[in-house]
Symmetry: C2
Subunit: 208 residues, 2 copies
């Protein structure tokens, strides 16, 4: 049985796929309807307009990233297809920090699609200010989550210092991820650079 919520999720999954493949400019409601196998009327019913689709897709992509960065394992073999992962045993704070950041750099189709779509949504904000508020909110939430993890490793570091380190680490991750996705940086090297950057920032927090 297909519920309204299933159909809404199917539309968002299709939207993320289309944006990753054709960019935000390439997302037309008619094609999205075809891709999701629903009517355009249903899309307007759930999301009001194209801007609504974009906003909800951004949210969907973030929720999905949050799931795979807290539920997967950095050293695990690449997954063959998007599927729910088992939650893991609790980790030491430093391991948890590395896991959260390195899981964005893994050869998994869902991660590639999610990061590509996020990059396209962010790039679209250069000329269309509509999404800026939601993008800024999502970035802030992510920076804050990483700052919290850093604070668990270095509990004596001041909150402001943690936030700055988290901003650098997340921005670096976005830069490395873009280079990896565009095929100019091998994945293993991107991961090594990220791991080293975490070490550099943690050391700086320990000996300011």
């Amino acid at each position: 049985m297909t519920t309204a919520s299933d159909r809404r999720t199917a539309i968002l999954e299709s939207a993320a796929r289309v944006i990753a493949r054709r960019g935000v400019r390439g997302l037309r409601v008619e094609e999205l309807a075809a891709e999701a196998g629903v009517s355009t009327a249903l899309i307007y019913y759930h999301f009001k307009d194209r801007a609504g689709v974009l906003r909800r897709t951004l949210e969907f992509i973030n929720d999905r990233a949050e799931r795979y960065t807290t539920g997967g394992e950095p050293g695990a073999e690449p997954q063959e297809s998007p599927k729910p992962r088992e939650p893991l045993e609790p980790l030491e704070p430093r391991q948890e920090l590395e896991r959260a950041l390195l899981l964005e750099l893994q050869d998994d189709e869902l991660v590639r699609e999610n990061s590509t779509a996020w990059g396209e949504l962010r790039a679209s904000a250069v000329f269309e200010p509509d999404l800026r508020h939601d993008l800024a909110k999502a970035s802030l939430t992510w920076v804050q989550a990483v700052a919290d993890l850093l604070g668990q490793v270095q509990p004596m570091a001041p909150a402001g210092t943690l936030a700055l380190a988290a901003e650098r680490l997340t921005a670096l991750l976005e830069g490395l991820s873009m280079r990896w996705l565009s095929g100019i940086l091998p994945l293993a090297h991107a991961r090594a650079l990220m791991r080293e950057a975490i070490a550099v920032e943690l050391e700086r927090l320990e000996h300011p």
Copy 2:
């Protein structure tokens, strides 16, 4: 008098503008001809095909970035429009390093356009492998230039260590630049984060 070389440059300037505004997917040879005020035949004469236009535009964007990161001044007032800058006095190695990196983060129309077009060209390589080779070469050249500057500040650091630090700094700069361009990170804050990252990496090179 307009020379063939002037017209070629005018086409590349228009291509960078169109890519920044509409993405690589939005670049059609017919529209480029209209934007540059030339015939499509002239574009095919100079660049053979659309792929040739993209490759040469990438090169053009890189040359232009090299000019403004070696000829401008980080603390200068925002320029109102793209114009040639006076070459500056020679700087200390550390200042030169900061200048080269921070000049990518300035409120100048040319810098915005250049960085936006570079981001679009890189994003296009996710699905079209054509540009990967040229992108990788351009990235490598940039990383090597930053590694050289780092080496002038820390001459005892091994080449491999310098290259890794340069990779992190340039990837971070791309990440910060994208956040700034998409309107979710204030310019002054992006510059402060970058300056601090340079300090962190230099310290690490000094006390490995």
